[in-house]
């Protein structure tokens, strides 16, 4: 089992979600995050220029069994890219164990 964490543009979220569903990754969590990075957005307010390094992104956390890892990564790579700086990152982490709370099932069974 692996946990796939992805930071993506909010504007790409719907495409990524659709692509994940199409490879039968139907369960995952996400939340909105603020980060710091290379991308700077120029602003002007009442004659004063300023830039903010605060970047708004969406953070996905997806736990899948081994056969789904490649498919999940490819789905995100194919849909989250705009080829501009700031498209985000994907991280793969090992997961020791998983349980479904309702039934007590564990391992791959608990993920379906």
């Amino acid at each position: 089992m692996k946990k796939i964490e992805a930071i993506i543009r909010k504007s790409k979220f719907d495409d990524v979600k659709k692509a994940l569903h199409s490879v039968e990754v139907n369960f995952f969590s996400y939340w909105d995050v603020t980060g710091v990075g290379n991308e700077k957005e120029g602003h002007v307010y009442r004659g004063i220029s300023y830039s903010t390094s605060e970047i708004q992104r969406r953070y996905l956390s997806i736990v899948v069994s081994e056969p789904f890892v490649e498919k999940t990564i490819n789905a995100i790579l194919a849909t989250a890219a705009t080829d501009k700086v700031g498209d985000g990152k994907i991280f793969i982490l090992p997961v020791e164990e998983a349980y479904r709370i309702r039934t007590g099932e564990k391992g791959n069974e608990s993920l379906n």
């Binding site: 002007v44 009442r46 004659g47 004063i48 300023y50």
Partner: protein, 412 residues
């Protein structure tokens, strides 16, 4: 016939009264929108305070201080006709004010104006003034300073005798508020974070520009009453001309500010557009019944440019005016007053000189009295909240309240 004319006039004047009242919502929205979320309750509280207490003060003494009944030719400076308001004999008849309005309407229309002077100050000092200090300042400024200055012109005092002209209050309302704002922000100091260590101005963007925009549209609407009512009757020609000049100046001011600031700063700044509209409105106010449409457009265009330069000047002087009140109300108020001597039916060097003297005298009086009042405030209630309170926001530190409890915005 006389009753009919009085009725028609009086209805118009009461409509204008309600429009001027509505301006207090406009000011509130503008101030909220151009400041940060954490100070919203505080700004609304101040605006409620100003209109409620302002109206009561005007009833208790302000009206009789502003319209004390100077004798012709006595060059009145200060006179008080007593506490409270009681309609005089004949105050409801055609004989009062040439059938323009009743005495009750007179009181309420002028009362709606009175609080405006402190409302102008409220925006400039936002986000760091101590609430109790502001309340004390507002009571003294609306209760005493505004009516005393008003008496010099509208009450038939010495400025009126000299031929000084201020139709609806570029000086008497807007500059009086603007001077108070300037002195207060000078003594108050800038908000934390407005200037960096090297003294370079930094942007503290307002948190709700849709609300600020609504405020400006409401103010424009209210100005139909502010200027239209200053005709002091429903005179068909003068009221319609006044509404035309008022609107054209507002439009020209907005356009000038939007494009001039684009030339300077390379962006289309909505807040400059809004301030330009207001600058045009303040600019036309002194001579709205004296100008041709072309004059009004020129006054507005120049006001729009003045606003943009004025906002930059305030930053350069290391002063902090979150809503641009000094540029809009003081600088454009002075411009509008002087414009009566430059454009329109009254233009002429002598008139210009009288306008200049009026601006100078009112300015000097307001600067000195504001300074004295603020020294009193400083030594009693205190003027500024402490650093921690300012950082937490005045909504929490002064009121213990949230403006937007349980509210969040989903960004795209």
């Amino acid at each position: 016939m006389e009753t009919t004319i009085l009725t028609v006039n009086n209805v118009w004047m009461m409509v204008c009264t309600t429009l001027v009242f509505f301006m207090h919502l406009g000011f509130s929205f503008l101030e909220i929108g151009l400041t940060r979320q954490k100070n919203t309750i505080n700004i609304l509280f101040k605006n409620f305070f100003v209109i409620t207490v302002g109206l009561l003060l005007y009833c208790i003494g302000g009206f009789n201080l502003m319209y004390p009944g100077f004798e012709d030719g006595d060059m009145g400076i200060l006179k008080f006709a007593g506490f409270g308001i009681t309609a005089p004999e004949g105050g409801m008849g055609f004989g009062y004010a040439d059938g323009g309005y009743t005495w009750w309407t007179d009181f309420l229309f002028q009362g709606m104006f009175a609080a405006t002077a402190a409302t102008i100050v409220s925006g400039a000092v936002a986000e760091r003034i101590k609430l109790s200090g502001f309340m004390l300042f507002a009571v003294l400024y609306v209760g005493l300073i505004y009516p005393i200055v008003g008496a010099w012109k509208w009450g038939g005092g010495f400025l009126d005798a000299w031929g000084f002209y201020d139709f609806a209050g570029s000086t008497l309302v807007h500059s009086v508020g603007g001077w108070g704002a300037l002195i207060t922000i000078y003594l108050l100091g800038a908000r934390i974070g407005k200037f960096d260590k090297d003294g370079k101005p930094k942007a503290l963007p307002g948190h709700n520009l849709p609300i600020a925009s609504a405020g400006v549209f409401i103010l424009w609407l209210g100005w139909f009453g502010f200027n239209g009512g200053s005709v002091l009757s429903a005179d068909p020609e003068l009221t319609s001309l006044t509404l035309v000049t008022t609107s054209l100046a507002a439009a020209a001011g907005g356009v000038a500010a939007a494009f001039f600031s684009n030339i300077l700063y390379k962006n289309f700044d909505l807040t400059m557009f809004m301030n330009g509209v207001l600058g045009g409105l303040v600019g036309i106010t002194a001579g709205a019944d004296q100008m041709s449409p072309t004059d009004a457009i020129l006054i507005g265009l120049i006001a729009g440019i003045i606003v943009v330069l004025g906002i930059a000047l305030i930053d350069k002087l290391k002063l902090d005016d979150p809503v641009g009140a000094v540029a809009v109300h003081l600088i454009c108020g002075i411009w509008g007053t002087l414009a009566v001597g430059i454009f329109g039916a009254m233009a002429g060097f002598d008139q210009f000189l009288v306008q200049l003297i009026g601006v100078g005298i009112v300015g000097a009086f307001c600067v000195v009295t504001s300074f004295i009042i603020l020294m009193i405030v400083k030594s009693t209630t205190g003027l500024r909240v402490d650093k921690d309170e300012e950082i937490r926001g005045l909504d929490l530190s002064e009121h213990g309240m949230d403006a937007y409890a349980d509210f969040r915005i989903n960004e795209g």
